[in-house]
Subunit: 219 residues, 2 copies
């Protein structure tokens, strides 16, 4: 009984995600779905990015959390528009939740839409939210074996942001091992070693965003 | 359609978990279900505990992972019996998986059974595996807001192991904030501040295990 029901949920989700993708493309919006474990630094990456690129792009954020609007408030403090989705215990965002939140945005005034998913390396990966790219984040405090143990995210992501590299002297994390495994799963994965705390490495991430947004606009 | 199906899955799970609980009690086995984000240190806590208490208790581990047997191999290197469950993409262990793995153990020769769940702060919390206690782990590198954002685990857990306290000088983590919120959700939560890397704080955790095992034996 379980498998057909789950399949039909995923199919219904894919249909809505397809509609969203068409909508985002019509408005030249680059949509990015940020996925990581809890506490890897998705909100910190957004805070930095929203502040440092605000003169270049019109950006907004859909925040997914089980409870609280802490992250939406952090993001809104940068001046960017943020909408909170509370999943009430649900382990991932889906396309219908994203569609419902769009009424709060004026799509004609957006260049980049960030979707910050629920902190979870498993379930969010299976639910397409109409994004152009999934962005995987991994903190070096989590251990270098994560691409090996949670391969689907790293297979499907366009970019891997290795965050908290300022902690490298204090943890056992082999950057080469983590990167080698992730890029073996996914030859086109762009990898960024950054610290959202110090700002280290973020320029390469910003350049990637510029390139992706330009590509989206020219389609 | 979705809700009744999920409810029946949870009911079926609870029935099997009840059977397991009876079985563990008959054998005086303390069963503990370890739940955390990926990379919070579940396997490291087990490696330490298995080595340092091996003269006192007969212990074994059920390892849950989406892929790989990395953690079972780390645990087996301590000399303890370990069985790997690969969920093939599944986001949590359930009681049926635990029951199926029990054929690999001689329950008459066990004092403590650790169930290391899939790294995920959400889904594992909903699936009773017949354990006496859920143990929540949280690494200080993940941020002090996690009890607030993922409250169900901290509400249901008997103990919270705050791991990687050796990183406190290098991260923004307010121990008081994390602990205050978690214990407000759950007045009987035992909190241990530890570093599985340095060994700091582990004696209090071992004492708690001794007390829980003694209580179990006397029931």
């Amino acid at each position: 009984m379980e498998i057909p029901v789950i399949r039909s949920i995923l199919e219904a989700n894919s249909n809505i995600a397809g509609e969203l993708r068409t909508l985002f493309t019509r408005h030249d919006i680059l949509a990015l779905n940020l996925i990581s474990s809890p506490g890897a630094g998705k909100t910190s990456l957004l805070e930095r990015t929203l502040r440092e690129l605000q003169a270049e792009f019109r950006m907004a954020v859909i925040e997914g959390d089980l409870q609280t609007d802490n992250d939406a408030r952090r993001v809104a403090a940068t001046g960017a528009k943020a909408v909170q989705i509370n999943t009430e215990g649900g382990c991932h965002l889906d396309a219908a939740m994203v569609r419902a939140s769009l009424e709060h945005f004026n799509l004609a005034e957006l260049d980049i839409l960030f979707i910050e998913n629920v902190g979870n390396l498993v379930c969010p990966v299976e639910f397409d939210c109409g994004e152009d790219d999934k962005i995987a984040l991994l903190s070096v405090a989590e251990g270098d074996d994560k691409p090996e143990k949670y391969p689907l995210l790293f297979t499907l992501a366009s970019a891997l942001v290795l965050n908290k590299v300022d902690l490298l002297p204090y943890v056992d994390f082999d950057l080469t091992r983590a990167t080698r495994f992730a890029t073996r799963l996914n030859h086109s994965l762009a990898v960024f070693e950054v610290s959202c705390r110090t700002g280290q490495g973020l320029n390469a991430w910003y350049d990637w965003l510029r390139t992706r947004r330009a590509a989206k606009k020219s389609t």
